[in-house]
């Protein structure tokens, strides 16, 4: 991974829509809300799902205003359907 970039992981239907399982975003963003438009720009097919998605930062659920930093792992999580 490039130093200073954020690693974005996609799962389930989000991986399907994005067409990849992971991406890198190297930009100066401070929160998830600032990161999302860049992810969407790379993978516009995710846009219709936005309202259903949850996020995790470094393996724990996070909200839009939560901080993200270079080196973090951000996961894009569709509605879970285990069981």
């Amino acid at each position: 991974m490039t130093q200073g970039s954020i690693r974005v992981l996609f799962f389930g239907a989000a991986a399907d829509r994005a067409g990849v399982r992971e991406a890198e975003v190297s930009a100066d963003v401070a929160t998830l809300d600032e990161l999302w438009p860049l992810v969407e720009q790379q993978h516009p097919d995710l846009s219709p799902m936005r309202g259903t998605l949850a996020f995790a930062v470094n393996g724990e659920y996070a909200r839009g205003g939560d901080r993200v930093s270079p080196g973090d792992e951000v996961a894009v999580l569709p509605p879970v359907s285990g069981g």
Partner: protein, 144 residues
């Protein structure tokens, strides 16, 4: 509290989980097993389910559910095992085993565990039908 929490890629040994939960201070072992069901619609039917997980977050969430159960009930042994990958019809995708001195807490805690799994554990299932697939909960897929 004894027990185990795991995400596995092979068939779940439900009998082994139940045996491991039996103990002299408990009069109840409650077991929930979620299995793959064949749904049908018009001309098509489900052929199998395929699960994927975000690890290790999913592993940690299973352990957290165990800790929540320990706070709420007198559970002496809790095992939660979720399978990922392809799961064929009738096979177990998840097994929950709770041992408690009495049946009430054992039933309640095992019910709680499956409901929490469906709320917070980052695991997803894809139904693979004879005419395409669909991600459950997202309705994204290739079925017409």
């Amino acid at each position: 509290m004894a027990g185990s929490f795991a995400i596995v890629e092979e068939p779940i040994d439900v009998g082994g989980l139940v045996s491991a939960a039996q103990r002299p201070d408990c009069g109840a072992v409650s077991t929930f097993v979620g299995t793959t069901r064949i749904d049908e619609s018009d001309e098509a039917s489900v052929e199998y389910l395929e699960y994927e997980a975000y690890r290790p977050m999913a592993d940690r969430k299973l352990e957290e559910i165990g800790a929540e159960i320990e706070e709420r009930w007198d559970a002496r042994h809790v095992s939660i095992v979720h399978r990922i990958g392809r799961v064929d019809p009738g096979e177990a995708s998840v097994a929950i085993v709770v041992a408690s001195p009495r049946r009430g807490p054992a039933f309640e805690a095992s019910r709680y565990a499956i409901e929490r799994i469906k709320e917070v554990v980052p695991i997803w299932k894809r139904e693979v039908w004879s005419d395409g697939y669909v991600w459950v909960g997202s309705q994204v897929g290739t079925r017409s």
